[in-house]
Amino acid sequence: MMALAVVSLAGLARTPSASQSAPVTADTRPSAPAVSVSTQASSDRAAAPDGFSAMPRSAATSSPSPQAPRRTDERTGASAGFPPPVASYDIDATLDPAAHRLTGRARITFSNPGQVPAYSLRLHLYWNAFSDTGSSWLRQSRLGGSDTSDELDPRDAGWQQITALRIVNPDGSAGPDLLGGLRFIQPDDQNADDRTLAAVDLPAAVAPSETLRLDVEWTAQVPRTIARTGVRGRDYLIAHWFPRLGRFGEAGWEARQFFANTEFAADFGRYDVRLTVPDRWVVGATGTEVSRTPDGRGTTTHRYAQEGVHDFAWTTSPHYVEHRRTFTHPTLPAVEMRLLLQPEHAGQEDRHFSATAAALRYYGEWYGAYPYSQITIIDPAWGSGFDGMEYPTLFTAGTRWLAPRGSSEPEGVTVHEAGHQFWFGLVSSHETDDAWMDEGLNTFSEARVGSLTHQPDYRVERFFGDFVPWQLRDVPLSRATDDNGLDGYRRAGRGDVQATPSFRYWPGTHVATTYFKTALWLHTLERHLGWERLQPALQQYFAQWRYRHPRPADFFAALDAGTGQRLEWFIHQVYRTTAVFDYAVEHLTSTQVHTQGVRAARLSDVPEAIDRTSDTYRTTVVVRRLGDGVFPVDVRVRFEDGTEVREPWDGRGAWQLFQYERPSRAVSAEVDADRVLLLDVARTNNSRSLAPRRDAAATHWARQWMVWLQDLLIQMAVLV
């Protein structure tokens, strides 16, 4: 009889949040047996007792200090600092580059982390999204205006097919075959053509804290990249490539179909993966390389291992040029950085490393330390479509052959994707339902890092087939507006209520809602509360939810607790409505006080005519709330004598009047002068001047535009 083991979760017991209803019942189980590792190590690698934390001694420019092996918790089998595994994978996979075919087999170990039994399993087969144009992914992509999904050449399609699926008995013998009961389901959109989520009933339920082992075999066709994963030429980025268990929450499976708007969600676990690829092809993967074994048949097996992660991605190509550096910091752990660079980007390694180091440094200082010993940076091949994506301990950046210094390519995407190691990799929010929780928080953080490390950041335009860059040194980009995506938000901010599950966002505007709106309201909070209040709140949130799966309510509760403020008045507007913020100075006049009419000097006197102008100026300012969003703002009025007045306004009413009588005439009035409210979609109407320079500005820019037009006309004249 299968000995059921229940893992004590006391060490990582979830703090009940508003979204939870019952506490976890803790039990104990015997420790899992130590995983056997290959003892064949190359000469430059230290043999690791457990295979999960060894860091190769680098032959690169700096000398990494080898990290001591982590202690393994005998009760949970987890290494110190890592969570008990929920879904672990022991995988063998072989890539056939000639046919772009991948075959694999895996042993999956699932420990039910929830509070209800698991009567069935959910398995993601993401690559089936690229098998035909009927998939939900491609349908949604078409709605968003993508023209890549109108047709799909069968030679470019990808798919995954499970060829064997059986339970493994506790004694290791083969258990019941589940393949016959495997079926595709479409719980999110009822699209019968979508085959990205499969379900199979279990002969016996897996009770909370029980463990189930499965053996699965599959074959997959590597697609020509449509999104994030695939092949171009001989460059492979293999992501979400194996039949992966869905995430199991407190109340059961939380697995979604695969949609274009969103990404992935899974449970933490251990990965021990052996990848067989042609000899001399460079491999980069999640985790640490444990061994590299040529088999004498023209292929080499690379073994990688990592625990405390919820995904495993890898890349291979004969073209990569490898570089290594070590990130060091007085208070943060050292991290080995490994860069796989395209040959034509030689000379850009410093830019990739400095951006990665900036992310590790600032995210580490602000939120919490990066806990893994290594990080791999992939420089994707041109046209591959792999760029700008994150996986645990590995991410793809993205640069160009001609990438002018002084612009944020590749720094911006490198910081962003490295930052996802924290928001998504460690704090594993649900990307399909709550994509804004990692993308928005990360966009906010990335912009903050950028403002500290790569300034100025000039806008770049590309010409001649999008190949030739031209840096506009008159156009510096700013964190507050450009990096936060204000323009994108302004154009599409009303696309969806942010609280809508992300996979249901309108495809054409989901980026604005997910990335930009979140970054803007977080930055607004930063300006409103001060970074010294917001940062500790984010740090506490990170510490509390690392290796866990927070929901929006958890994040908002952490903000309230960490800042000591009740922010519901703001969160409700930005998260649960599509309220748009727009404050304006509607009226500004400043004239000498002129009194005319009749007035009696005393009550008993007969009124006499008066007509006098005093030396005093009456300044009248009317500010108006044009949007439906409410935010406290201030109003600043400046006077000719150099003085100014600041008035607070709670921003609730439709308008507010301010009047002053002073010896000096006013020159200007501004609402939200310090630009705290970054969500204000129309900044131009936030101010008025009594000596406006609109004519000078309009003339200046009409002149510039006219030269462009004249040049265009001369160009066109060549054709007649």
Binding site: A381, V475, T481, T684, R693, A698, H700, M706, L709, L712
Partner: protein, 355 residues
């Protein structure tokens, strides 16, 4: 070398007729200014009394700029940061190589401009062909005389370019180029392919351009009525003198590239005031001078090979003077003169009266 002489002669003819550059430059202003005025109004309306204008008046205020673009339509929608400095030139050149459609709002402006160009070009060719001053009246006469024919020619060539840019270009860069780079993973290699594709695509464009240019020259210089005939004649000449013709084309392109390069070094930035306007208008005038010199070089080459310098088939008109003009003008000095009966007019027996 005949092409060298033609090239130098082309510039000489421009120097002899600097007013042509002025005329073309004024025509760009005549078309561009009203459009710029309209845009100016839209910009001013959007800025209102805002303090954003303070920074926008002296440089880039990207915040306001993006806000303007988000609500702009028509001409306003073309107001992008690509208009700054030499980026404007790159944008326009790239528009052609990438076959990017013209913004619809500019359609009317461009059509008016092209019509104006077509009409003026007859006078320009006649002037550089005759190599003598024509005066304003005769210049306008020449423009009017050739306008109808050159419009017909422009329609034919427009059809040709339409086929090239809307049919050939998408196939060449969409299907053929994409197939060539299907598995290319190096941007440098892909760019090399793109350059190669652009050069190959440029061949039919250049060929059409050359044929049309010489068709235009022959239509004006030889006073041809049939534009199809002019096209055939232009093609025939270009084929016969292909070496000199293509060398001239290359020289013109190199001259243009040098001028663009110079502008790239001196192009005014976003903060440039009136001085920037002067520099940019000098650039525009220079481009027009290069264009006219190209036309003049083509005329010179044609005249050198098939005619003679100064040859134009149709003589310049000589209009009789009015009686009032006669009354004002002094008696001409000539060997003999006699009064016409019943008239106060005189004429020289040695030849017509000249002024």
């Amino acid at each position: 070398m005949i092409w060298r002489e033609a090239y130098l002669n082309g510039w000489q003819r421009v120097r002899q007729a600097p007013a042509l550059v002025l005329v073309l430059w004024a025509s760009t202003l005549a078309v561009a200014l009203p459009a710029a005025w309209l845009l100016r109004g839209a910009l001013a309306t959007h800025l209102g009394d805002s303090l954003m204008a303070e920074t926008a008046a002296v440089g880039v205020n990207l915040d306001w700029w993006n806000e303007f673009l988000a609500q702009a339509s028509g001409l306003g929608a073309t107001f992008s940061p690509r208009i700054i400095g030499v980026a404007a030139v790159l944008d326009n050149l790239s528009r052609m190589t990438d076959a990017r459609a013209l913004p619809p709002a500019l359609g009317v402006v461009v059509v008016v401009w092209l019509l104006l160009q077509v009409c003026v070009m007859g006078g320009v060719i006649e002037r550089v062909a005759r190599q003598q001053p024509m005066g304003r009246v005769r210049f306008l006469w020449a423009c009017a005389r050739h306008a109808g024919r050159l419009v017909r020619l422009a329609l034919i060539t427009g059809a040709g370019y339409w086929v090239l840019f809307t049919q050939l270009h998408p196939w060449w860069f969409g299907d053929v180029y994409q197939a060539a780079v299907h598995d290319v993973t190096s941007e440098r290699v892909a760019f090399a392919w793109w350059l190669g594709a652009a050069v190959v695509f440029a061949v039919p464009v250049l060929l059409l351009n050359v044929v049309v240019d010489y068709a235009r020259v022959r239509a004006v210089v030889e006073d041809r009525r049939s534009m199809i005939g002019a096209m055939v004649a232009g093609a025939r000449f270009a084929a016969q003198a292909r070496g000199a013709v293509m060398t001239l084309v290359l020289l013109q392109l190199l001259t243009l590239a040098a001028w663009l390069g110079l502008y790239a070094l001196m192009a005014p930035g976003a903060s440039a005031g009136l001085w920037g306007l002067v520099v940019s208008q000098a650039y525009i005038a220079g481009r027009l001078a290069i264009r006219i010199s190209g036309v003049a070089a083509q005329v010179s080459l044609f005249q050198a090979r098939l005619a003679h310098a100064g040859y134009v088939a149709y003589p310049l008109p000589q209009w009789p003077d009015s009686a009032a003009a006669d009354a004002i003008l002094p008696t001409p000095a000539c060997a003999t003169h006699q009064a016409l009966p019943g008239s106060r007019r005189h004429h020289c027996s040695s030849g017509p009266i000249s002024r």
